[in-house]
């Protein structure tokens, strides 16, 4: 990537680690990189899980009445009581993954790989690493460790700042 003075840059804070919420940061990071934007991603709290070597992301409709799945021409929302039953996270996750495959949506793994390839700068939050007892050995290669000041410095130099 060029280091021209007019290169645009984007920084984002990634705080969520469920299958659905893993998409916005990686879609925006890869697309911005493809459009010549320098990208920084700061992974904190549950977002940190998106850096793990083995991604086993899950989704559940529990507490999210807005989540409806297309089914036979209709849209079906799951009652919370049902979503809370044992095994529902696995079922909902499989349904979501099948749907994404059918619709030609990239997997999170694929998008993450493309982000790394595009030299997106990734920072893992040191405090959250300590808090949840992760080590860099649990994570993919590439991310550096940093804290709030690291992000703020990146953010002050960025044209776009997002909190996801």
């Amino acid at each position: 990537m060029s280091a021209e003075a007019n290169t645009k840059s984007m920084s984002m804070i990634v705080t969520k680690g469920t299958l659905d919420w893993a998409y916005p940061p990686f879609i925006l990071a890869t697309t911005a990189a493809a459009m010549g934007v320098e990208v920084n991603m700061f992974f904190t709290f549950y977002g940190l899980g998106l850096l793990k070597k083995d991604l086993d992301l899950k989704v559940n409709t529990l507490g999210n009445p807005a989540m409806e799945m297309p089914m036979g021409g209709h849209h079906v929302a799951m009652p919370n009581l049902l979503a809370a039953m044992p095994g529902m996270t696995g079922i909902t996750t499989s349904m979501m993954k099948d749907l994404m495959k059918k619709k030609g949506v990239a997997s999170v793994e694929e998008l993450r790989e493309l982000a790394i390839e595009a030299e997106v700068n990734m920072v893992a939050c040191q405090m959250t690493m300590d808090l949840f007892e992760y080590s860099l050995d649990d994570m993919i290669e590439g991310p550096q460790l940093g804290g709030a000041a690291t992000f703020i410095e990146m953010a002050t130099k960025s044209d776009i700042n997002l909190y996801i």
Binding site: I27, T31, A34, G36, G104, V105, A106
Partner: protein, 75 residues
């Protein structure tokens, strides 16, 4: 006829853009890439992509199902 053709049919956002960018990177300046996509959102997205990257949209058309774009690598 474009110098290279990218079949992005069946792929959803943002894959057509990412694959087009990858293909353009490997092509010499001035050459043309034809992208075939089925994602209707790719129309606005490829226009934005070209404006942001300085690549030239030479041609675009669709038959209602497949959206074709010819982009010259100038960015």
């Amino acid at each position: 006829m474009a110098d290279q053709v990218l079949d992005a049919k069946g792929l959803n956002c943002p894959l057509p853009i990412l694959k087009a960018k990858k293909a353009l990177n490997a092509m010499p300046t001035g050459s043309t890439l034809e992208i075939q996509a089925t994602d209707p959102g790719s129309v606005k997205d490829f226009e934005a992509f070209c404006r942001a990257t300085g690549n030239e949209m030479v041609e675009q058309n669709n038959d209602g199902k497949v959206f074709n774009f010819v982009i010259r690598h100038t960015g």
